[in-house]
Symmetry: C2
Subunit: 139 residues, 2 copies
DNA sequence: GTGTTTGCAAAGTGTTTGCAATTTA
DNA sequence: TAAATTGCAAACACTTTGCAAACAC
């Protein structure tokens, strides 16, 4: 039943602890939904209704809080492809995305499939936090 | 008075006509604000208040409509960096962006400063509409 | 005149917030 | 018990919509 790339329960617990987050019922249940399968790109509303489907009582506000807390803890990465909706990616390693405009669906592109060269340097005192590449697919 | 890279009035008119858009007072005034200087990254609210400052009477709804019509006509490009706010870029040539997270400010990166290699092909029947590279600057 | 465009205010969307009640350590 | 967390509903910011009045051709 456990998907090939699920994260062990203990690892999730450790991540929560080291982020100073108590392992509450809601956070554990959401973590299970998020990390029991691979490479999910999920919105808050989607995760909330998935929780409902699994009889996990959790409010939408808590889903938002939890997604942001997990993101701050490095367990998720936020992706913005489209004004007015955020997706959260369970794959936090270096990679990029196809965005299928027709369906709104996201798909990973491995980090080594893209190379960015000759980047101008950022102003002194600042640094590059991340480079997002979004390949927009139409049709 | 005219900035170095402004677009001639006649070109704007032709673009509007070929998109089937009547050159109304509002559209012409907004076009002037947008294209009289170079490489602007502007939100609907910003353009609306700029119009107010210049005594151009135009409603926010019309600013939104106009920005979308200009985008459909290829005169603008929409950029999404951040859920809940769209920017419109007056530079429609091939290029990418620095996004300064602290200030919310955008800056162009010339297209030839970035190279994307070995891209996986999109599914049959679809095509790549655009590749967006956003370099997120923190600090 | 005829069809397009506009402005307004209302509705819609996704997200955040304030605070009392609950839960955790 | 003290501090963190939750749920709810209300507030929010941005965007879109519906429709009558104004406008372009």
């Amino acid at each position: 039943m456990t998907a090939a790339c699920s994260r062990p329960f203990s690892q999730v617990l450790d991540r929560l602890r080291s982020a100073g987050l108590r392992p509450t019922r809601q956070r554990l249940a959401l973590a299970r939904l998020l990390f029991d399968s691979c490479d999910r790109h999920i919105s808050a509303e989607q995760l909330h209704s998935e929780a409902m489907d699994n009889n996990i009582r959790v409010s939408l506000a808590t889903v938002y809080n939890t997604l942001h807390q997990f993101t701050a803890a490095g367990m998720l990465r936020e992706i913005v492809v489209d004004a007015g909706r955020s997706y959260f990616d369970t794959n936090t390693s270096d990679h990029h995305h196809f965005f299928f405009e027709r369906s709104g669906h996201l798909e990973d592109i491995p980090g080594d499939m893209v190379s960015v060269t000759k980047m101008p340097s950022p102003p002194p005192g600042t640094h590059i936090r991340r480079v997002d590449v979004i390949v927009r697919i139409a049709g």
